[in-house]
Structure formats: C-alpha cells, structure tokens
C-alpha cells in the first residue's frame, strides 16, 4: 500500500515539475531514404543533444581522463583520426583499425568496420571499454559523472531529474551523433540544381556511377553492406573483418563499405588506413586486387581506368566535401 502511494506521489511530482524540453527536428535531406534509427525511442531535444555534445568532447570517458571521443573523431577531418593509419588511445596504445568518419549515422544499421555493434546507442560502449582506446568501464564513467555538478545540471535539464545512468549517457551520446548530418557538399548543390559541376567533375561523376556506385551508393555514398574489396591481407594485423562477428568463412576479409562523403579530409583510407592518397585507392581497384573467392561480385570484372580518368574521378570525389558540416559550430567543442 505504502509503495503504491509513493509511486503515485512520484508520478504527480514528475508531472507537475516536468519542464518542457525543446524538441529538435532533424532535417531529412530531400530524396534520402528513411532513417534507420528509431527516433521515437529517443526523441531529440536541444538539452539532450547538448549533454551528448559535452560528453563527446570530455576526456572523462577514458580511464585516465586523457582522451575524449573527439580525440579520434575530430570535426575538421569529418570526425575521424587524420594522419593515423591506426588510431591510438590512452597512453599511445595503438588499436588495429582506422577510426571511421562519423556522419549520417541515423541511416546506419551496423557500426564498426566489422559491424560488431548493431545499434547506435551501444556504439559508445565499445571505445569506452576497449583496452587500446579509452580502457574505462561504463560504470566508472557514471560514477565520475556523478561527482561533477555540471553534469548533474545537464542531466537535470535533459531528463527532468539529475539521475545519471548508463542508459541516459548512451542515449545522449547517440543524440549528438545523430545530428551530424552531412548533406551540403557541392555534389548536393549540383543535385539540387543550385550549382554545376565542371567538365572534369562531370566526367568523374559519370565514371564514378559506372565503376564505384554499386557499393558507394548515392546519396549516402555507401550501400551499408560488408564487402571484400580485394585488399592483400596485412600479415601483422591478420584482421579477418566481418568473420570475427559472424564466424562465417564467407564473411572473411569483409569490411563495411565506408561513406565517401568528406573523403578529401578523412584520409588515410581503408579499415587499416593503408592508403594515404585517393590515387592509391584507385590504383588498388585497377591493379592491386587479390582475387579472393568471396571478392565482391561487382569487383570480379577488372576495372580499367586511364590516368586521366582517375584524375577525373578524384575531382568528382572532392565535390563531396561539405564545409558547412566540417565547420558547423553546433558540432564543435561546447564552450
């Protein structure tokens, strides 16, 4: 009896004391598919997005409070770790993969190069607890956050009370990451007929559609699938890719097809960052592929490109740079 009264009182208090949240409407770019993320389970609000943004930039998520999400996902390089083939975590520990660029995540079903993570809400757990990344425990993160008055206030305004939990922390991080939408590149403006390609870019676009678009499908510039793209195996890393997750030999050496948006700034390329330049990537597809049994079917037919054609494709790829995204103040360090 007492228990019910308490619950009832709590409900009344919550209803009366509930502060209205400022809802945030994520703009779905014209012609894009429906997002995969279920926003009804985690409704975007300005307050939650801000909390997520503060968390994203806070090294408190790491064991020794030295690195934040932004350490390996820096805005100016399309939220990836530029210049590092393999990203490094706390105490300069080197991981075994190249940090992926973060954008348009609401349209992704799986995360990580091997799709180990199946929902954006759980994605942040992986780097937080990985030994070579933040090497922390989510439960310690919650304990640390609980000691900081600023977070008490941020959780209060985001959730209506100052309870700090794993669920709320992860949902807030998802919220911020969901707002990272890149859809204002020159390519997008050309598609909306607000701009025009140069002749070279146009040539590159046609070649791209012919040779690359079956995996790097517009408008996301990824088909979100896992493919074996014929990279020779790195005998030091011995990374089997998707097979680690599914344990199916048919998934050996398959990695998630990355988006090409903002590719100008997200170098180095491939899951292990083996290529520094786009020209090296194109050379791999024309001359360097290993004919694995499970090579992506669209790559079995050899790709032949002249060096001029390669230059044209690169000119097109540079139209995928979205400066508004790279310099959007809403995504930067929260001052």
């Amino acid at each position: 009896m007492k228990k019910y009264l308490f619950v009832l009182m709590a409900i009344i208090l919550v209803v009366c004391g509930f502060k209205l949240q400022s809802t945030f409407d994520l703009t779905i770019p014209n012609g894009w598919p429906k997002p995969i993320y279920d926003f009804s389970k985690n409704k975007l609000t300005e307050e939650k997005i801000l909390l997520g943004r503060v968390l994203f930039y806070d090294p408190i998520l790491s064991k020794n409070n030295t690195i934040s999400c932004a350490s390996c996902h820096s805005q100016y390089t399309a939220f990836t770790h530029v210049d590092h083939a393999l990203s490094h975590g706390i105490e300069d520990r080197i991981g075994n993969r190249n940090a992926p660029a973060l954008m348009n995540l609401a349209w992704h079903q799986n995360f990580m190069w091997d799709g180990a993570i199946h929902h954006l809400d759980f994605q942040s757990l992986a780097p937080i607890e990985n030994h070579d990344e933040m090497d922390e425990k989510i439960v310690h993160v919650i304990n640390k956050l609980n000691l900081i008055p600023r977070y008490k206030n941020l959780f209060l305004s985001a959730f209506g009370d100052s309870l700090i939990s794993g669920e709320r922390t992860l949902k807030a991080l998802s919220q911020f990451m969901l707002t990272l939408v890149s859809a204002n590149s020159k390519y997008d403006k050309v598609m909306q007929q607000k701009d025009t390609f140069t002749q070279q870019e146009q040539n590159g676009y046609l070649l791209f559609k012919q040779h690359c678009a079956s995996c790097h499908t517009e408008p996301l510039f990824t088909n979100l699938q896992f493919e074996n793209n014929g990279l020779p195996i790195d005998s030091i890393l011995n990374d089997i890719g998707r097979m680690r997750i599914t344990q199916k030999t048919t998934d050996s050496l398959k990695f998630k097809v990355p988006t090409l948006r903002n590719i100008e700034f997200s170098f180095p390329y491939m899951h292990d960052g083996r290529f520094k330049k786009l020209s090296q990537v194109l050379n791999h597809y024309t001359n360097g592929m290993v004919p694995y049994q499970n090579l992506s079917p669209v790559l079995i037919q050899p790709i032949t490109l002249t060096s001029n054609q390669k230059v044209d494709i690169i000119a097109f790829l540079l139209t995928l740079t979205d400066k508004e995204f790279l310099f959007n103040k809403q995504y930067s360090y929260p001052r």
Partner: protein, 229 residues
C-alpha cells in the same frame, strides 16, 4: 487547482485500495546450490572431480515470466528482465503481483534476454549496460555470468570466466524453462552450480567471452540444472 489535485489523489488512493485487495504476490526465489548447500560466494569448495573452486560472481537474467494453466498463459510479467545476482540478496527474489484467486499449474521463464530485446534501444534498470551484463566489443547481452577460481585453471591467477550469451542463430543461447508447479505464495528455484562446474574441463575451457557454439552448449546445460523446490 490544489483542490482538484487533492481530489485526484483521493480518487487514485481509493482505486489502489480496491486494486490491492484483489491481488496477491507470488514470490519467486532463486538460490544457488553447491554440494547440496546454499552457495556462498568467495568460499572454497571441493568438487567431486577433486577440483578446488571459489565462485566470485554468479549473475543471470530471468525474463518473460509466465504463469500457465492448462497450456494457456494466464499471467505475463510486465518487467522486461530481472537480473539475479548472487551477491545481492535482494535481487534473488522476484515478486509477481497476480490476481488473488489465480490458478496455475506451470510456470515458464527465459534464462537470458531474447533477440527482440537484444536489438532494441539502450534500456534502463536491470538492462542498463552499467550492470556489467552487456558485451561492449560486440553488441548483445550476457545471459549468464559465472566467474571464480579453480585449481585446474591454467590461466593467470587460476581464474575461470564464463560469459554466456548470443542472440543470433545459430548461436542463440536463450533457454526457455518450464516447471510444473502450482505453489503459492512462494516458489524456490535452485541452480546446482557444482554440477555445472564439475562437468567442465576447466583445464581446457576456462573462459568463454563471446557468443559461440560453446556458449550455447553451456547454456543448455545450465538450463537443466535449475530445479523447482
């Protein structure tokens, strides 16, 4: 305004009063057994196979509890999942609020988290990832976790760690258990931990930490070691 709120409060309280009279609690107790005695964590035991073991952690999820009468589900627990932790006596009992004159002849529940819950958004309470029952490197709940020390373990510090789970076929580790019982108001379920460990070759398999075939095999074995008392 204040008056109307008062009125609502009175109305609700009287409603709960009526509601409470018609309902009763069925309490499900979970108890670890080792060598026929109640399991104590951090204590040494000798198993029939002569291994000396010490259990530090034993936790698992119970979900989807149903009371069944003549093969029909007549009560369905609305709590998504209960985390049973042998280190937390309070967690080892689940109370079901049922109608006072309920009649049932079987009870069913899942050991672990089903695939639908596994692919949903991040959840709170017992399912919050801070509870330590979520794999971080690969998505998915750990259904059952048992950790400790064994004389036979070849690992550093003689540890064994079994984290059992997996929500994708063919490595789907969830187990559905059904027991014939019509007990009220308390039912006790025991888990014979010694039988689980005694049947394992800890010198070979001393850790399972991913959703593999072994994880499913051990989950099936565990399911057989739950008994209703």
């Amino acid at each position: 305004m204040k008056l109307s709120r008062c009125f609502v409060l009175i109305l609700c309280t009287s409603y709960i009063g009526v509601f409470a009279q018609k309902n009763t609690c069925i309490k499900l107790n979970f108890k670890g057994l080792i060598n026929n005695l109640a399991l104590k964590l951090d204590s040494n035991y000798i198993l029939p196979n002569n291994d000396t073991i010490n259990i530090e952690t034993c936790r698992f999820y119970i979900s989807n509890i149903q009371l069944i009468h003549q093969n029909k589900t007549i009560f369905f627990d609305s709590t998504l999942a209960h985390l049973i932790d042998m280190a937390e006596p309070n967690s080892m009992s689940i109370e079901l609020l049922v109608s006072k004159n309920i009649k049932y002849n079987a009870i069913q529940f899942n050991l672990g988290i089903d695939s639908a819950l596994n692919v949903s958004e991040v959840l709170s309470g017992d399912l919050d990832p801070t509870m330590g029952m979520y794999w971080t490197w690969q998505s998915g709940y750990i259904n059952f976790k048992i950790e400790g020390k064994s004389k036979n373990s070849p690992s550093r510090y003689k540890q064994f760690q079994y984290h059992l789970g997996g929500y994708l076929y063919p490595n789907y580790a969830l187990q559905t258990l059904r027991f014939k019982t019509s007990k009220k108001p308390e039912i006790t379920f025991t888990l014979e931990v010694d039988k689980f460990l005694n049947g394992l070759d800890i010198s070979k398999v001393y850790q399972i930490m991913s959703p593999t075939e072994n994880s499913v095999l051990l989950s099936k074995k565990l399911a057989q070691l739950f008994k209703v008392k």
